[in-house]
Structure formats: C-alpha cells, structure tokens
C-alpha cells in the first residue's frame, strides 16, 4: 500500500461551489483511477507566497490518498490537472516510505488534533486558522 498527498491550488476567482464541484470531480477521478481518498482538507483562500499568473491568492485543496502500486495511476490524474486552467499548481507527494522511516502512522480519517475537528464542515477551516 502506498500513500500520497495531493495538493492543488485553484484560481481564487473560481466560486466556492465550483471548487466543491471540482473537488468532487478530482475525487471521482482518483477513485476511478484506483485510488482511495483517505482524507480531504479544504484550506480555503490563502495568500500565496509569491504571485502565480499574477494572482496573489489561491484556494487550496489537499487529499490524502492510498492505493496499490500498479492500480493507482497518479500520472493520469496529474495529466488532467495540467489540462485544467483553473488549477494553478498541484503537487503530489508519495509519503508511505517517509512515514515508515519516521515511524509515523499512516494518515487516517481523523484530522490531526489542532485542525478542524468537525468533519461536516469541510470549507469552514478556510477563514480563521491561517494568519499572515
């Protein structure tokens, strides 16, 4: 079992409903490509450390994934991300080996303690927690 993290930044001009729709799309795609979404985080609108396409903010989405080698095709997912002009950036990181080396547990449904505990309000985290 391999685990991954997939993060992408959506154009902030895209309304929230569309971001949600896009999230569902990506999730569907991931599932279709043999992946399993372990956890999903919406960071909401966040200031970018440097402008991308002259934009200063972006809407962040983060997925924790799991999949078997040979079944989950990250390549195809990344290909689709590149096609989408609303996605400014994406980053896929394989984490299982690093976690194992560090003796850390693999990510589960429950978000880490300090983050939002209420799973029913995924977009709620966006406003409050990030200062700066």
């Amino acid at each position: 079992m391999r685990t991954y993290e997939l993060m992408y930044i959506v154009d902030p001009r895209v309304p929230d409903e569309e971001v949600t729709a896009l999230t569902e799309d990506v999730k569907g795609l991931l599932t279709a490509k043999g992946g399993q979404v372990v956890r999903e985080e919406q960071w909401g609108r966040r200031k970018l450390a440097y402008p991308i396409n002259k934009l200063k903010e972006g809407k962040y989405t983060l997925f924790y994934l799991a999949g078997e080698p040979g079944e989950l095709s990250i390549d195809e997912v990344e290909f689709r991300m590149r096609q989408n002009d609303n996605i400014l950036r994406y980053l896929t990181v394989r984490t299982d080996e690093d976690y194992k080396r560090a003796g850390m547990p693999l990510p589960t449904e429950a978000p880490p303690v300090e983050e939002t505990d209420d799973e029913d309000a995924p977009a709620a985290s966006g406003g409050g927690e990030e200062e700066e």
């Binding site: 450390a49 962040y60 950036r89 980053l91």
Partner: protein, 77 residues
Amino acid sequence: MARGRRVFFRRRKVCKFCADKINYVDYKDVKLLQGFVPERAKILPSRISGTCARHQRILQRAIKRARHVALLPFVTD
C-alpha cells in the same frame, strides 16, 4: 598581560531534528520551515543552523516542495 588571548566559547550546535527526534519534515508545516529560510528566503545552511546532513536533506526537500505550492517564497526583496 595576556597577549591577544581570544578564547571563543562556541557552543556546539545540535541538530534540532535529531534533538527532537523528528524524521519527517512536512512541507505543509510552514511555521517550522520558516525558521530555516531567513529574510531573503534562501535555505539556511546547515553550517549556521547546525542541522545534520541527513536532516538538512530532509528539510531541503520539504522547503522546495513548499515553494512549489507557494507556501514559501523563492525570493523576497
């Protein structure tokens, strides 16, 4: 009269990650990473921070990932 006696007591630097037994640095942990990218947003050399080679590598990778997704800047001016 002591002639040119300059005795520096340089405190031995200890790798922060070894001390804290951290073996994975998350690129999302901006607060942690920011401590290793001073003003100009360059990566702080291990010679200054005292980070051991292994952890410097892990740290470096995390910083570069964070930069890609605009959590950290490449440059500041």
